[in-house]
Structure formats: structure tokens, C-alpha cells
């Protein structure tokens, strides 16, 4: 299940409280999932920019079955969709006991099955 695609490499840099997202050098659009060109102006000079890792939970589900063998012994497994403060939406694993709508969450990269993936947890105010 390892993500080996070149366009992902910089996405997987880590910095506390920050995420790296594709950013268009011409029109400043931020986007996810990674693309070859900017979704807005179609320019191909995309950079990686740090954005706040905070957002709100816009929905979630608890998976009880699936197709990928890596999850077989993990059900029930929670995943959700987070809208980051910058407006970009990520599908993430949830490390949250009781999710609720518009819950404030922080997203970080964690190693899962030898792959860095997004996990959201309840945002802890500093």
C-alpha cells in the first residue's frame, strides 16, 4: 500500500502544527489530492507550501468492512473528511473517540503500514 508516487514526496515532510500542500506559484491556489497542474490556472509550476494543520471535521464514517487487506484486523475503523483552515479538504484516518460535526481537529502525518498518512485528532488548545 506504499505511496511511491513522486508527486507525494514533498507532501510527506513534517513540521509540527503544519502540513505541506501543493501551491500554485502563479495564482496561489492550494490543492489536494496532488495534481500535475494547478486546478485553477493550469500552470505546472507547483510548489509545496506549509499551511495550518487545523481544521474542522465535515463528516466521518466507521468502516466495518473493506477491500484492502491492511485493514482486515482493524475494523471498526474511523475515517473522516477534514476541511483545513485554508479551505482544502482531506480524507483522513480519525484518532477520535467520539467525532461530531464541525469538531475542531488537527491533522498530522503518522506512519501507517509503512506509509505516512494523514490522521486527525481533537485539536488541543495550547
Amino acid at each position: 500500500m506504499t505511496l511511491n508516487y513522486p508527486r507525494f514526496h514533498k507532501q510527506f515532510r513534517t513540521e509540527k502544527g503544519k502540513l505541506f500542500l501543493q501551491h500554485c506559484s502563479e495564482c496561489s491556489t492550494l490543492q489536494y489530492p496532488p495534481r500535475e497542474v494547478c486546478r485553477t490556472c493550469l500552470c505546472d509550476t507547483l510548489e509545496w507550501k506549509t499551511v495550518s494543520a487545523q481544521g474542522k471535521l465535515v463528516s466521518w464514517t466507521v468502516l466495518h468492512t473493506g477491500l484492502e487487506p491492511a485493514f482486515e484486523n482493524r475494523f471498526p475503523w474511523k475515517i473522516g473528511e477534514v476541511k483545513l483552515e485554508c479551505g482544502v479538504q482531506l480524507i483522513v484516518h480519525l484518532d477520535i473517540e467520539e467525532p461530531f460535526f464541525f469538531m475542531e481537529v488537527s491533522v498530522e502525518l503518522r506512519l501507517f503500514e509503512e506509509t505516512l498518512m494523514y490522521f486527525a485528532s481533537k485539536h488541543q488548545k495550547e
Binding site: M1, L3, Y5, F8, Y32, P33, P34, V58, S59, W60, T61, V62, L63, H64, T65, G66, L67, E68, A70, F71, R74, P76, W77, I79, G80, E81, K83, Q89, L90, I91, V92, H93, F101, T115, M117
Partner: protein
């Protein structure tokens, strides 16, 4: 904004065929598509050389394409079309084929949706469905589209106050229609308790919210009205049809598929409204999408589909709105992209008096809706068509 486009006048849809569904098959997609083509020839009494256009939608045809199919089937068409639009493919196939015939690019177009289902093959297909799906959905355990529609369903329930029993009611009613359809893989009566007590798949979705993947094919022919008359084939008019793609990119989790954007154009071109429909065939990959089609195609107001399905007789025999008259995918099974053809073919069947299930008495006018292609977190393709019984 209202747009005027050329009508589909003079073009008809005819010869609806269905290759019986199987839970799994050792045959590949070319077998199912080939059988559909054979049935189209049988039903129309046309020769293979008379079919000069071929439009195919298939999820499991790779590494082959509609071009290589011409060699599989030894055909020499002068017009080919491929429709990778999932559940919107059949409506769009009819639109493309109708224009080709209107313009003289083809005389008779065979439109076919066909797929196989082999044990274990669904995982590979889901994992590689698209770049976004491969990179950003599948690794999170999203089992095909279940996880995405679970999230859409949860949002719909919270926003509009619908509950599991509302969706269950729809599934139970559709199953009643399936009882009359020998091709439905799920014909056993379903009670609300059965629905509510079924195992959870992706909360809040339970087993009977999810279609059963299977193998099968559906097809129909597109030709001029004059030709259909000459061949003595009962037919349906394509009164109007619309498609719309990636319509809700600005919404957090969309409450629609795109139908709202073309609804007025669709009805205006057909000179009718939702109240005139003798039946409705929606794309029922998940009950929440049926609710959204009922709302966005104007059968009820936004957020009121739960009340609508509870207060309206959806059966083929009632005086309400016969809906998914053959049982829909939730009962018949989802034969890959042929799932998008199910409603269209059943619509043509109803209007030409050859239904798979029960005939809707005096059906003259019907609406067929399609929806497809979950790429990241939402479906991208919406389409709908108004069909009218041919005056033979």
C-alpha cells in the same frame, strides 16, 4: 440561465435487452457485451452489418476498448463511442447516439453497458479507479465508494433530519418491485427490520444500502423513428436529455449531483414537468442519492424526500410514482457500468410494453436519471432524460 439546444426529434430508442445477471462470472466483459449485441440483433432482426455505430460503457473491459471490440465481434462500424461515465453512461450514450443519427454519422447505434464480476477483482478495480482514488481515498480504507457515500449520507441525515428508517423504507419498497423481476438477484421480500438489523458496512450505511456488485449487460438501439417503424419495432422518443459534470466543487460535501443545474432545461424541452411522469427510474447506488434525485429533479422540495417516499406509493401498481420499476440496482444488482443502463433500459421496456418486472399501466411518459464517477469525495457525472411512448 436557460439554454436552448437542438431537440432530439425524429430519433427513437428501441430494442431493450438484458443479459441475465450473475453474482460472479468466469467470462470476461467481452462475453457480456457480445451477448447483449447478439440479443439486440435478435430482437431487431437486423444484421450485424446494419449496426454502423457502437457505443459501449464498461468498467471491466480493460485492456480492451470499444475499438478492439469491433474485432472481437467482427464488425465494421463507421462510428464508435466509449462512455466512461459510470451511472450516467446510458443517458449520455443515448444523447451521443441520437446526435450521430441526426447528423448522419450513423444509421443504427447499439448502446451497450456490460461488465463481468470475478471473485476478488473488485479490490483491484477500486484501488486503481482513478489517480485521486488511488492516492487519497483507497489508502484510507475507503471500500470502493462506500465510505464516501457513508459520509454524504451522514451529512444528509443531520442536515435534513432523515433517519435510517427513511432510507430503509425506500429499500423495502424497491424490493417489492423486484419480486416480479426474474433477473433480480435479490427478490426475497425485505422487511424494515431486516434492513435495520443488517450488518453495518460503513456507518451509517448498512448492508442493504449498498448495491451488490455482479456481472451482466444491458443494451438498446438508437435509430430514426422512420427506421423503427419500418422494422415494426416498438420505440420510445427521447423528448429531452441533459448532462452536467463536476457541478458541486464549491460545497464541503455536496447535497446534489448536478440535476438542479439542468432541471428547468430538461422539462422545458420536453414541455412537461415532474408531475406528468408515469414513472421514475433513478440511479440508486445508495438511497441517499435517490433522495437527492427526487429533490433535485423536482419531485419534492430540498430536504423533503423522506416525507415524500413515506407518503407516495412507489410501487408499479400504485397511483403514486412508480419508481425503479424493476427493483433498481439495490435489488437487481450492479453489473458495473451496466448499472447505469438499468434504469434507461427499464424505462424503454416500460414504454414499449416489455418490462422485466410489472408493467406500469398506461405508462406514456417517464424520467430516467443517472449519476456516476466518484473520483475523490463526490460523484462527478449527472444526467437525465425524459422518454415518451412511441406512437405506433
Amino acid at each position: 440561465m436557460s439554454r436552448q439546444k437542438k431537440s432530439y426529434e425524429g430519433i427513437v430508442l428501441t430494442a431493450p435487452v438484458t443479459v441475465p445477471y450473475q453474482r460472479f462470472s468466469a467470462n470476461d466483459a467481452t462475453w457480456f457485451i457480445g451477448q447483449a449485441l447478439r440479443m439486440l440483433l435478435g430482437k431487431s432482426q437486423l444484421k450485424k452489418t446494419d449496426i454502423d455505430g457502437l457505443a459501449v460503457s464498461s468498467f471491466t473491459l480493460a485492456p480492451d476498448t470499444v475499438a478492439s471490440l469491433t474485432e472481437h465481434f467482427d464488425m465494421m462500424p463507421r462510428w464508435l463511442e466509449s462512455l466512461p461515465f459510470g451511472g450516467a453512461s446510458a443517458v449520455i450514450a443515448a444523447m451521443r447516439a441520437a446526435r450521430a443519427v441526426q447528423n448522419g454519422d450513423a444509421d443504427v447505434v447499439a448502446c451497450i453497458g456490460g461488465d463481468t464480476a470475478q471473485r476478488g477483482s473488485f479490490r483491484e478495480l477500486a484501488a486503481n479507479f482513478s489517480r485521486f482514488s488511488r492516492d487519497a481515498v483507497y489508502p484510507y480504507g475507503g471500500a470502493g465508494p462506500n465510505a464516501i457515500f457513508a459520509m454524504i449520507t451522514r451529512n444528509y441525515m443531520t442536515r435534513f433530519g432523515a433517519d435510517a428508517a427513511d432510507f430503509g423504507h425506500l429499500c423495502v419498497e424497491q424490493r417489492k418491485n423486484a419480486a416480479h423481476n426474474p433477473n433480480a438477484l435479490l427478490r426475497k421480500p425485505l422487511s424494515l427490520d431486516d434492513y435495520l438489523n443488517a450488518r453495518l458496512i460503513a456507518e451509517p450505511l448498512r448492508l442493504f444500502d449498498c448495491v451488490m456488485p455482479c456481472a451482466g449487460a444491458e443494451g438498446f438501439l438508437v435509430m430514426t423513428e422512420e427506421k423503427a417503424r419500418r422494422l415494426s419495432l416498438p420505440f420510445a422518443y427521447l423528448l429531452s436529455a441533459e448532462e452536467q459534470h463536476n457541478s458541486h466543487s464549491a460545497e464541503e460535501l455536496p447535497m446534489g449531483g448536478g440535476w438542479r443545474m439542468f432541471r428547468d432545461d430538461l422539462y422545458n424541452a420536453a414541455s412537461c414537468g415532474p408531475e406528468d411522469m408515469d414513472f421514475l427510474q433513478t440511479y440508486d447506488d445508495y438511497p441517499v442519492m435517490v433522495f437527492q434525485q427526487l429533490e433535485d429533479l423536482g419531485f419534492c422540495g430540498k430536504g423533503t424526500a423522506a416525507d415524500f417516499v413515506r407518503s407516495t406509493d412507489l410501487s408499479t401498481e400504485g397511483s403514486g410514482l412508480p419508481h425503479n420499476t424493476c427493483g433498481g440496482q439495490l435489488s437487481v444488482g450492479q453489473a458495473g457500468f451496466a448499472g447505469g443502463f438499468l434504469g434507461m433500459v427499464e424505462g424503454i421496456r416500460q414504454l414499449t410494453r416489455q418490462p422485466m418486472g410489472k408493467q406500469v399501466a398506461d405508462a406514456e411518459l417517464g424520467l430516467v436519471s443517472g449519476f456516476g464517477m466518484v473520483n475523490y469525495d463526490r460523484g462527478l457525472c449527472a444526467a437525465a432524460a425524459v422518454l415518451k411512448k412511441g406512437e405506433v
